[in-house]
Amino acid sequence: MTDLPLFPEAASAVAERTDLLFLILLAFAGAITLLVAALITLFSIRYRQGVRRDRGPLPKVLRREVELGWTLATLFLAVIIFVWAVVQDLGFLKPPDEALEIEVLAKQWMWKVRHPQGVREINSLHVPRGRDVLLHLNSRDVIHSFYLPAFRVKQDVVPGRSTALWFRAERAGRFRLFCAEYCGTSHSQMTGEVVVLEPEAYARWLAARPSDDGLAAEGRALFVGLGCAGCHLPANGVQAPALAGLPGRPVRLADGRIVQADRRYLSDAILRPRAEVVAGYRPIMPSYAEVLSEGELSALLAYLETLGGQPAGGAAGRDITGGEDR
């Protein structure tokens, strides 16, 4: 970085085309500004008060032609610039085929990245150089915006819908990642970096990161962060069944059925908790269908798997498995 940066570095194909459009518009805008300034200066000097000049009325024809002239000229130029800008934009409408697809989850105030091989990182994104990358962006809370200035790309991350962003990094290096949509207290801390690696280096990096490491750890964080622990930890009262050792065991439901606490049951219990209520408990758990992404659900389930051992008995966690009750 120089001391007085004037122009941002360009690290993607989009960046170069955007810069070209920008520079040409800049030249155009500069020319118009100079024209207006020059005319005003010229008239101001020539027709200043007290100087003898022809100040008679203009012929009507001249007035109309001049007026129509610059109206049409402006319209013409506006349409040309529009068409050019749109042609460039439309070229990027369709996501590239065979892109490297990466999931990005935004939350106050961090970026969580999940690579297809299960590798995870936070506030950084490693991508290979020269390959199309397609990001699927989801937000867990408010609107954020994924902004990579060096790539000239930006996409809002809107809760309740999935948005996508793609780019192809043309230069290896480290580039800034910003959240561009104001999202609360630590908005300006919601930053990170994109690390563009040569393809071989990227492959090495992927291999060095153990996949799914911390999936259960993330699940644990969610378990606490979403407030599950508030009811489901045995220490916290009797409103909800304790979960230790639950996966894989049979559960008795309020309607008398007994079901296996498999992955299907556990995820349904989280997403549609009122469908199959455990016997002896009130149906008070809210649905997390709108809260959890697919990845987070997996993380929660992974965490539940780690809660091995015997189902806890005692005052707080009444046993809910069907077997012993009979």
């Binding site: 200043r48 800008a85 934009d89 790309v153 809002d156 809107v158 104001y182």
Partner: protein
């Protein structure tokens, strides 16, 4: 000759007329219960000044914080509250009402030869609404602040913010009501109270601008009002219209919000264009070039202004083809804007130009509006907008239009009509100095932000990477100059109230009905009912039609 009359007006000037609106009643009640549009305009000027100071102080805090890359002066929440307060106060309590309620309120009846606005009581009522809403905002500030940004984006504003969003929504709602009342009053007045002979195409462009502005206010503000009602309902009653957890759509909020808030920019700029046309024609001693085109351009901007809101949402995930349509319509705004700039320029041709302070402010406006408008073209181009959206580039762009151009025009209008309003002249040398200082101070503050924005500096950042610091410091330094330029006129104008020379009815030799009334005007404006028999801007020495 015009020259002779001008210099006569400059030198002498009769003593103040005995019964002016200022002396028509005494005591505080005669002001607080007045129905005189001129007094209500002055009431507005008092509250506008208060809001300007509050918004200015919060802007100063933001600029001070950004001098260093670390967040050190304010806490993160404090910074967020500062720029939110700055935005809310400046947009809704200063810039949107600024020219219509002050200069417009004072001058509209005078310029069309009427005794008052059509609904004088409604006029006073809207001041109370505006002032009351402002007090609510100040209360929200004291009670702990608002941290959503002036844009109130959901679901942050409805679900996640822990600040006084409800109070702010109510305050802006009430302020919007005040705006609607004023606009309604202006529309009815312009339709029904024009002097005999004052046909539509004899109206001064300032009146046309107020008319176009009023139409925009009437059609846009109610949508904002409904959005604010829904936000307030969601905060208070949990009615989840925009809540993604229930399937609600945050983008619906943005569509409705920008359906108001983009026209709001034109609500600010159109009256400024009107003011500047009065300034330039008077001091160039020239009829405005292409009067009818100027009228059509005003109406054209007002109409197209309603169709471009989606250009605030190019990165939001709205449908790509919707973005293309909005982009095209945004480019079309360039046409009427260019007509205005070129016609002002052409008005100078064969003029007789005097560089009074009013003229300097007018020129400053043209420069800032041209730069702000041209950068708008960059933002209408989708690829560039995607890069600079929500960066300092956007901040610079809209400040050039909404602050640089509009506030400069307001100061220009204030200087131009100050003798009419107060009956006094101000020190012209100081006024010219302030006009020039304002232009350079503004550019020094905001031009660096164009560069920052293209470099990628996001807006609303409490701390930022160190490589941006040089431009941030330049911008903050410029803001100090700008603050001085905004405060200086307040000082010498206040001085002139007591020590300024008395002005005659028409110190500038200006055309326009308002100059036929005494300075300051009597309570009912005109002693003889004015009759109009010719087009506006009758400045040509030869007199014939151009």
């Amino acid at each position: 000759m015009t020259m002779a009359t001008e210099s006569a007006a400059f030198d002498g000037g009769p003593p103040a007329p005995a019964g002016s609106y200022l002396t028509a009643g005494r005591g505080i009640a005669s002001w607080l219960l007045t129905r005189d549009h001129k007094r209500i305009a002055l009431l507005y000027m008092v509250t506008l000044t208060l809001f300007f100071v509050i918004g200015g102080v919060s802007a100063a805090l933001v600029r001070l914080e950004l001098v260093t890359p670390q967040g050190d002066l304010l806490s993160a929440d404090g910074y967020n509250q500062a720029f939110t307060l700055h935005g809310i106060v400046m947009v809704w309590f200063f810039l949107v009402p600024l020219i219509p309620v002050s200069l417009g309120n004072f001058l509209l009846p005078l310029m069309i030869g009427a005794k008052d606005l059509a609904f004088p009581r409604l006029n006073l009522f809207s001041w109370y609404l505006n002032a009351g809403a402002g007090l609510l905002v100040i209360y929200a500030l004291v009670a702990g602040g608002i941290d959503t940004g002036w844009t109130f984006y959901t679901p942050f504003s409805t679900v996640y913010s822990n600040s006084h969003v409800f109070l702010a929504a109510v305050a802006v709602f009430v302020a919007g009501f005040s705006t609607i009342a004023t606009a309604l009053n202006f529309v009815v007045t312009i339709h029904l109270l024009r002097a005999p002979g004052l046909t539509w195409f004899r109206l001064p462009l300032f009146v046309w601008a107020l008319y176009a502005t009023s139409l925009m206010m009437l059609l846009a503000t109610p949508v904002l009002a409904m959005v604010l009602v829904l936000i307030a309902l969601e905060r208070v009653a949990g009615i989840p219209i925009f809540d993604p957890a229930q399937g609600g759509d945050p983008l619906l909020f943005q569509h409705l919000f920008w359906f108001y808030s983009h026209p709001a920019v034109y609500i600010m700029i159109l009256p400024a264009m009107g003011v500047v046309t009065e300034l330039l024609t008077c001091f160039a001693r020239r009829r405005v070039f292409g009067y009818r085109f100027m009228v059509y351009a005003l109406l054209g901007i007002a109409a197209v202004g309603f169709l471009v809101w989606g250009h605030h949402m190019f990165t939001s995930g709205q449908a790509a083809y919707a973005s293309v349509i909005f982009s095209m319509l945004s480019f079309l705004v360039a046409v009427p804007s260019a007509i205005k700039v070129f016609n002002w320029t052409a008005t100078f041709y064969r003029g007789s130009i005097r560089f009074t302070s009013g003229m300097l402010y007018g020129l400053g406006f043209v420069g800032l509006f041209t730069m702000g408008g041209l950068t708008g073209l960059f933002l209408a181009a989708i690829p560039i907008d995607i890069h600079v959206h929500d960066t300092a580039f956007i901040v610079a762009h809209f400040h050039y239009i909404m602050v640089g151009a509009v506030v400069t025009a307001f100061y220009g209008g204030l200087h131009f009509w100050w003798p009419k309003i107060t009956g006094r002249l101000y020190p012209e040398g100081w006024a010219r100095f302030a006009a020039i200082l304002m232009f350079f101070g503004f550019n020094l503050t905001f031009f660096p932000q164009f560069i920052l924005g293209y470099l990628g500096m996001p807006r609303r950042y409490h701390s930022y990477p160190a490589e941006f610091q040089v431009w941030q410091v330049l911008s903050s330094g410029g803001s100090a100059v700008l603050a001085l330029a905004y405060l200086l006129p307040m000082a010498y104008l206040a001085w002139s109230l007591v020590w300024g020379r008395r002005a005659g009815a028409n110190p500038w030799g200006a055309a326009g009905l308002e100059w036929r009334a005494a300075s300051p005007p009597p309570e009912h404006n005109f002693t003889d009912e004015p009759v109009v028999d010719g087009p506006p801007y009758d400045y040509h020495p030869q007199g014939g039609p151009t």
